[in-house]
Amino acid sequence: MNCEEVQAFFVEARASDRPLPEDILEHLLSCERCGAQAGVNGAEWELPSALHGRILGDLANSLDPVDALPSRTKLVLRTAFIFVLLPLLIVSVLGPVEPLLPIPQLTCLASVIAGSEIFLALALVSLMVPGCRPRIPPKLLIGLCILANSAVIVMLFPQGKTEALEIGTRCFVTGCLAAVPAATLLYLFARRGAILDRATAGTVVGLLAGLVGLTVLLANCNNLGAGHLAVWHIGVLLTVSTLGLSFGALSISRT
């Protein structure tokens, strides 16, 4: 067994309590480089004093007392203010369009949006804390939320004729503009944590902001066509989440 095969074994192997295979162990004991890497030949690495001094110097430069992040429930409740107060504020500024959507449809759509917001807020909070693994993977949750909102619109509303472009554009622009302050607030909120997976966090922030835009459109659009809702309202969701993904990926490339 050569070094490459041993490397491949360690790359493919998962952590387990089982002992190493005989041939691997034999190679590790005979090869100094692989043995040192696996830490089996007694070549225990010790922290050099110069490096230790450098690290401590870095830490001591800005060693101030810090308050730990609040609990996850409190953080999620804080995001709820963004989802509730911001749409109310924007709708009060824009003014609701009469007549509104029918109450049952409005209720169902609002329920799905609220559920998506809660689950996405939980995912965002888990992304803010290193080593905190959420029950539902955030990437799966992003897909599920987009799918659920699209499916509810398609199934709940009648298929209408294609609307004029300017009506759809007006809804799209309104939704995107409503998403801007939400995205800003959510970005400031997410900065309180330590975001490690920035692309996913950017997408989640974008999706949450898009949901705020969608909530504003619930009160600001009385068009019941499923085509209009699926294209222009879900378009807000997709556009803002794509922008969030782009910003997240851009911040990764700048590190």
Partner: protein, 301 residues
Amino acid sequence: VPVLSIIVMWAGRRGWAPTRKTASSDNTGAAQSLHYSYAHVAPWSASSRSKPILCYRLAKSHAEPKFCCTSWKPKLLGRVTRAVVVCHVAALQVRGFVSSTVQTDGSSRSKNDGELHELMLRYQAADLSAADELVRRLSPLLFRFLRSPQWIQAWNEDVLQDCWLQVHRARHTFRPGYPVLPWIFAIARHTRRDWYRRRCRIESREVPLQTAGSQYGFLAHSSTQDARLQPLLAVLPPSQRQVVVMLKISEMTLEEVAHATSSSVGSVKQRAYRAYRKLKEVFGAAASSEQGNSVSLADEL
């Protein structure tokens, strides 16, 4: 929950909702038939916790004779009931989701992790000795986790230092009651990934020093000669020293130096002339007192 709610909504649109059924005079029978039809559409409702709520609401909605099936009220009430059931189930799910992901206390932690936990809390309270102890204890673990055979030792140590910086910046995200090692290794994993990306980017854009040294003469100078030159050039102001180094050591042309220093050729000439004059004054005075290598080097310059 979204999928189930979609099924219910879809069933409602198809006309299978319980409010569309004919209500009988017997309230119990109506409730049973309604529940049967509802369960037929959405079998999950028959076994879920929402069943009593659903039965109660539907029975109540048909308890009074004025609520007939053609009225808008039963329809509305049925839809509201469905929305309430969906929200209730969603709330249960969310509650279970939160409680299942929040860890309660550190009772199951090992003794080692308990000590690390205490050190981490002291580190958050700006205790430098705790930070020192954490660095001593965890650096070997982190170094073994972070190092890569493709990287030289200095890079591996730089990754470790960068990892500790990231830990320092994110120390407020550690919450009491949670284990330390998963938190710190999550940061280390992303630090290693960022470093790998950075190395790939640098290697794709930079020219190795061995290749560059053949193109630019100043990089091929020996370190001993540099060590002798530095104190000699220290008498010059930075702008003049920069011009001398570029012209005489790096062997750049006047135009190249002007471009590199964002100045005109005339300005470069002027700075070079002043630098030569100052060097001549300094080393001319020194030459009268001592004859040494420095003078010969100054003459060479």
